[in-house]
Symmetry: C2
Subunit: 138 residues, 2 copies
DNA sequence: CGCAATCATATGCAGCTGCTTATGATCCAC
DNA sequence: GTGGATCATAAGCAGCTGCATATGATTGCG
């Protein structure tokens, strides 16, 4: 064990702040909240059955996420339809509009990330992304 | 540009939560808050002149950090002495006790991190750490 | 059928955060 | 000497978060 590197959290924290700061105007330009974008992303990528399961999937609080879902629905970015097999459940789906918005936001974010990552050697970058992917469980 | 990876923030966020969850009991065992540990770490590694500069260095709010400094001082982990050259300033320094506590916490955290990172191939791990270091500005 | 579990929803509580404003003391350039 | 800047400190405000509780409706098992 060497003492030559900071704790992971100490490195992740400022990076996280930089990313959030960069994403904020991108999200604002599309009138989407950060949790709203997380919801759109989840729905765009994987089917999910219940709102609670969605909340768990994106690390959100199942109660707090309701407001976000309300906003997304009002903006016609998602739809909620009753599940014919279980009257407690409202099935979630992303609309075509929601898909477009999500992908536009992601494009902006990706452009920023690519620029950020371009300062890192390609071999390290690949290792970084692979590690990050493995460590984040996705 | 490929679509085959999640946004950085989407990967960093769960990793950050995992790290925080792991650190929480370690910090509690030493009766140190997370900001307290960040302060101790900063003081243990680099001299800093003013409290405001310390706050900036660790990404904390200069007003909010006062309470943390009060606690650390009460626990005799840091000392605040008036700067003879500038009566507005209180110079900060870590005590020997503070140094011991900080290093004990770091040891616990490092053990966890090493275990976590052991699931990643060594080459990727090195690339990960180098990238993280470069991207976090430290 | 009864009951525990689950769903969506709402909300309270405590804590934290970012930002701001304010205070009194001190510093320093003009 | 004056005034703006800086320091430490305190606290307001609004927003967010994690967790818990509660409600009414629904489901599914014993």
């Amino acid at each position: 064990m060497t003492d030559d590197r900071p704790d992971l959290a100490a490195m992740l924290y400022p990076l996280m702040r930089v990313l959030i700061a960069a994403e904020t105007p991108i999200l604002a330009a599309h009138d989407v909240s950060m949790w709203g974008y997380a919801v759109l992303t989840a729905l765009d990528e994987t089917p999910v059955r219940t709102q609670a399961a969605l909340a768990a999937a994106i690390g959100a609080d199942k109660s707090r996420i309701i407001g976000t879902l309300d906003e997304l629905q009002a903006a016609e970015l998602i739809e909620r339809t009753p599940d014919p097999d279980d009257r407690r459940v409202r099935l979630l789906s992303i609309t075509a509009k929601g898909r477009r918005v999500r992908r536009a936001v992601r494009k902006g974010i990706r452009a920023y990330e690519d620029e950020l990552l371009s300062s890192v050697p390609a071999a390290d970058r690949a290792g970084f992304l692979r590690s990050l992917r493995a460590l984040s469980g996705r």
